[in-house]
Assembly symmetry: C2
Homo-oligomer: 281 residues x 2
């Protein structure tokens, strides 16, 4: 018995087959994806039209992009399942969604959008996984995506999956992540493959989880928002940082690359922390 599941990630975008088949000569090292069209639509409304999160969600619901109960999308659960499938496929070992740190977009506000712009970035919900030695790391969270990245221009309900491999370098797959016809396109292509007897089983092992890196060990740059009074403490703790001001009561800055653990310790010492968002490199 063989299962094909092209439609499970990225809707109509060919991604499962290309990863399994066309990138077979590569060791895949990293995947960065905009994997959920509903949240991408909401964030696009906040970025392009200055909508609040609540208004943007309302518009998405009116248009049928978001469910009446939108939790699975806006809490990042759907994106988490998708990055889990891609990570399984890329690294050959099963990573259960409940092992993946998952943060949705419900706390993203208009200030985050403006701070992102000040850093020449846009804020996106990013599913991320990476091979690091023998370990694998996966995460779903909002991230500041630099405008030079091909992912930054992926708007509205579109999805995109950027795959890095040791031979191919960087490649990206882009298209409609949902909808009746795109999904049907993926399902029917699987059926045609089966009819042509043109499919290999896609396999991975589901033994153990000691290869999954703890989120506290993963390193990333951070954009931190803190109370106005903490400028001196921030400079002392984080070194040479550029300060950004978009309102009277607070300031923002990008940290060097730090583990989640290191960040937590510094933030605690600084005090006055309002919020932090990871920054994609």
């Amino acid at each position: 018995m063989k299962y094909l599941f092209e439609a499970s990630v990225g809707g109509g975008i060919p991604i499962i087959h290309p990863m399994h088949q066309c990138l077979a000569a590569n060791e895949i090292t990293e995947i960065v994806g905009i994997l959920n069209g509903t949240t991408n639509y909401i964030l696009t409304q906040m970025i392009k039209n200055g909508e609040s999160f609540d208004n943007a969600l309302g518009i998405a619901q009116q248009l049928g992009y978001a469910e009446a109960n939108p939790a699975a999308d806006i809490e990042g659960i759907d994106a988490c399942r998708k990055i889990a499938i891609l990570a399984d496929l890329a690294f050959g070992r099963q990573i259960s969604p409940d092992k993946i740190y998952t943060e949705g977009i419900t706390n993203v506000d208009s200030e985050d959008v403006k701070y992102a712009e000040s850093q020449n970035c846009v804020i996106k919900l990013i599913g991320y996984c990476k091979k690091d030695g023998d370990m694998v790391f996966a995460r779903v969270s909002p991230m500041f995506v630099p405008k030079e990245s091909a992912l930054s221009g992926v708007d509205d309900v579109f999805n995109a999956i950027l795959v890095r491999g040791n031979a191919i370098g960087e490649t990206m797959f882009y298209g409609r992540g949902a909808g009746k016809l795109p999904t049907a396109s993926a399902v029917v292509s699987d059926m045609i493959d089966i009819a042509r007897d043109n499919c290999n089983g896609i396999m991975w092992t589901d033994e153990g989880d000691d290869f999954i890196m703890d989120i506290n060990d993963s390193k990333v740059k951070w954009f931190v928002r803190a109370s106005q009074s903490k400028v001196k403490d921030a400079e002392r703790l984080f070194g040479a940082i550029d300060l950004t001001f978009i309102k009277d009561t607070e300031f923002g800055f990008t940290t060097p690359k730090l583990t989640e653990g290191e960040l937590s310790r510094k933030i605690e010492e600084m005090g006055g922390m309002i919020k932090f968002v990871r920054v994609l490199e």
Copy 2:
């Protein structure tokens, strides 16, 4: 005997397989591609760093992106062969490269780059093919690409191929179009497919060419540059047009959609034509 040829278009980017296999449930209606990394690098230098064409070509040659004799790239010949392969595959009938109108980037100048910017576009060398009823049309030429298009952000030596299908809508494949490792990635994936006996022959018919639309019948918007003295004539001939001025001696404007034949007749009547570039929609 079966031939696989994933590396023939887009270097390491999986495109031949995904089109043939993953989009098998679609009728493909249109392909728009940045298919040549050398010319894309040269245009990126002209756009981002304000280099002249000659300087940009020199830099590309120094870096080994352009050959000592760069004709096959800068005259659009390489892109033409690639769009021919994609069109064959998409439409199931062979379109010989010598039937495809091909214009390279040797006439693109700094003013074109500025005019493109004034229209919120970037100038790119675009391989294009489209199904129009029973006919098929293909072309290679510089085009103004609107910044909202996912193709506009494809810079340097990267390639991207946007495929439109009746079920999938719009999907795009992006990555390194050349280089030793990306190309090897594509070749080795074909070899793995052959070893797995996991390949269908990719076939198309090579009978006749009466399905190929004449370039004079193809419709497109145009950006026209003409001598300053011809403003009144342009307005009379092209209707409500927005005029753009970036230097004293000339002006530019975008036409409505016109066939090549219609444009030629109007241009001849107007006189004072300096140059025209097609505009991607």
